[in-house]
Amino acid sequence: MKIKTLDSHLKGTLQAFYESWSVKRANCYLGLDFEALRQTLAEIKDDAIARQDVLLDRFEEQARRHGSRVLRARDGDEANRLVLEILEKHGARKIVKGKSMVSEETRLNHFLLRHGVEPRETDLGEWIIQLAAMSPTHMVMPAIHLTRQGVARIFSKHLGREISAEIPALVRVAREELRREILESPAGLTGANALIAENGSVMVVTNEGNGRLVATAPPVHIVLASTEKVLPSTADALLLLKILTKSATGQPISSYVSFIAGPHRTEQYIILLDNHRSELRSDAKFREVLRCIKCSACLNVCPVYQVVGGEEFSHVYMGGIGSLLTAWIHGLAESKDLAELCMGCHRCDAVCSTKIPIANLVVALKERLVRATGKRFWKKVALDGVMGHPLLNRGTFLAGRAAGPLLRKKGYARGLPARLARYDRFRALPAPAPRSLSGRFGKVKRSLRKKTPATKGRVTLFAGCLIQHVYPEVGLAALRVLARLGYDVVLGPGTCCGFPPWNSGHSASARRAFRYVLKRIKGEGPVITLCPTCTTMLAQGGPDLVMRAEAGRRRSRRAGGRQARDVRRFAERIVTFSQFLARHEKEALQRLLSRGGPGKKVTYHDSCHQKYVLEASEDSRTLLRMAPGSELVEMTGPASCCGFGGAFSVDHPEVAESILEDKLAAVAASGADIVALDCPGCLLQIRGGCARSGQAVEIRHTAEILAEALRED
């Protein structure tokens, strides 16, 4: 599927929104313990999900006591029919609506129009979207993809008069028009941010105040809420509120919060919609998705969302979390395109208000998708074939190396078939190195051993397939540093760690690749990696795959236990190069580094897994500051993604290119001579991008920078 990326104006709007939101959000949480808050909220939600049936009954009983009518709907169609029946009973041909993502989920507007009822959105963003016959592209900012000129055109067309494209004028028009609509309407519909079981009240949060107008002014008020919104108590709802607005808009609280118990005027109806949530609730793996409070923080930080927007990256719900909700609510098949747009960078996990492990759940969803809908051809070849089969993996690179003189031009691939031009256009792809890391390792190691005896024991270096075949100099640099520190460095297998197939849901191939590595790294002592993504796979993804496979096999408990213990021990040995040095060898390394030297500006690029999974970016910065003659300068957005994402940049080269563009601009603006990083994937992407755009900047792995700074002995 070819994805349309945003034009520079819209990309700029999203970028500006992201930047201002990040600052405001950070300020809101100043002095608060976000981790503790979200942990508590996650526990409250888990408990409420586990006891949902009891809580919903209690809510219903309490709401009835207040005179509300509570109705249950199994699916979207039933909910829509209930709304229509209520409106018909009250003779209403029109209904005003507060913002309700659940009504988007059931396509209520569409349904009502077909049955002769006019729905009118009253949230400014939703109203714009409705007039333009579009769908929301952000859960909190539905019309974020439109410019003021676009909005003025939409209003002018609707009202039959020229409306100025100034924001205050547009807001004034909305105020007048929407107020008239609300006050004249016989019925109003709102969503709910929480249903409070202990007293049968509904919490509605808005900034504009339309929610409270829609709930108060018309005689009939309908609440359309999904079942997972139920919480035990008012105190629980207050905690949710405390987190929701900070995460959603970076406000300490929204302008208006209403708790409504019972009807204001004639009637209040509360429709509780299940829509396959009970199936999701009974799925042990995916149940956590129901903790989502629709704050959209995950979307705001998503590098893919930032360049493709919500038109491409949504079904009804958006982004990675959207793929998970969609898989249940609208069906597995509908979630496929969304899931494939998730790179697995884990930024969302860091900001999720209820600690949903979104990135890993999307991988689990991809696994189900692969089982249910099959695999893409190129992925069968590349992920199952080349990466999932260690021997084929080696063979492919051997062939590439043999053909090297034909393929290589200054280290980059040339003469690629026209079909591959999409992948090569924005970043030059590297050719395999003339000699692999394993081919050069022994000789270099022997010469180093002559100078420095190995006094500190043995470490295993797991370099990964890119360094083994494409960037062997990175592996040799790491060897130099470790050997000089007095380690006996043995080289692990130069095959794939299994991450690319794992991240695409090809779990069998991923497991095979991981097991191959597991079997070939024997003994004890640290296993040092040169790639944060390999680290994540070897320490987390791979062990999880093996444990799950073991759990599914009928074996003696003792054998299963032994296997689990072995895998756990292996996982504990995995450490990245910079983590290992910064945490164990800082002083010793300092003594080995030369002093002074020509000053070069170095800027550090945080690779996604280094920062968001391993939380080891600061370790690298510590090491880089120690390197003589290098001055560490920060680029804007050092932790912005480079757009590589392994298989992702093959699936979606246009998206990868758009993300890379911003990174290259930040690199250029930093004025740095060297970009330091810790991931060979980012190295490929950023170096290739610089080569294509003619940026004269060196891209180096931290290991290379340290190796060059070693004193001559």
Partner: protein, 181 residues
């Protein structure tokens, strides 16, 4: 005894949410200040919560009680009173008893809200018990609770902040320092 810091924190929260603040020693002085503010704006139609009407008239304000939704929508200013303030966020808390009261807070472009300093609590969580008790009461109309923090706002067009999209464009909070008459 309310510590000054609680009031100061409330003011900081409310101001950063876009509210304006004035302080007065008692209810009468607060209404006098409201009268001056309203006069400066040359506002003619002013509605007040029933509980404030008498005192407002004594302060020389030409106020009426609301008579239905259309009447409230046509008013230029509403004078209301909050039951509590939450310092952390500068939030006004109202335990509503009717829809007209709620609309009076929301429809006029200028909302003047009086708040007694002694009712300011550290944060909304401190009110959980009170709110929960209020929401459990029965009767018609059903119990409501409103939190209002700053004026009505939106950033739905190009993420630019705009004030007064549906509710008031100005929220002026009159803090009453004493116990009130």
């Amino acid at each position: 005894m309310v510590t000054p810091s609680l009031v100061d924190r409330f003011i900081a929260g409310a101001v950063s949410a876009g509210a304006e603040i004035f302080r007065a020693p008692d209810l009468r002085a607060a209404l006098d200040a409201a009268a001056r503010l309203i006069e400066d704006e040359s506002i003619r139609t002013i509605l007040a919560s029933p509980s404030l009407r008498k005192a407002a008239e004594e302060a020389g304000l030409d106020v009426r009680l609301p008579e239905g939704t259309a009447d409230i929508a046509a008013a230029e200013a509403g004078i209301v009173q909050a039951d509590f303030g939450a310092a952390e966020t500068g939030t006004l808390v109202r335990l509503d008893s009717g829809d007209e009261e709620k609309l009076l807070w929301t429809l006029p472009s200028l909302c003047v809200c009086l708040l007694e300093c002694r009712t300011i609590v550290p944060d909304l969580q401190s009110l959980a018990g009170v709110l929960s008790g209020h929401l459990a009461r029965t009767g018609r109309p059903g119990p409501q609770v409103s939190f209002v923090t700053g004026p009505s706002r939106t950033a739905d067009i190009e993420c630019q902040l705009a004030i007064g999209v549906q509710g008031p464009a100005r929220l002026v909070i009159g803090l009453i320092e004493g116990q009130g008459p």
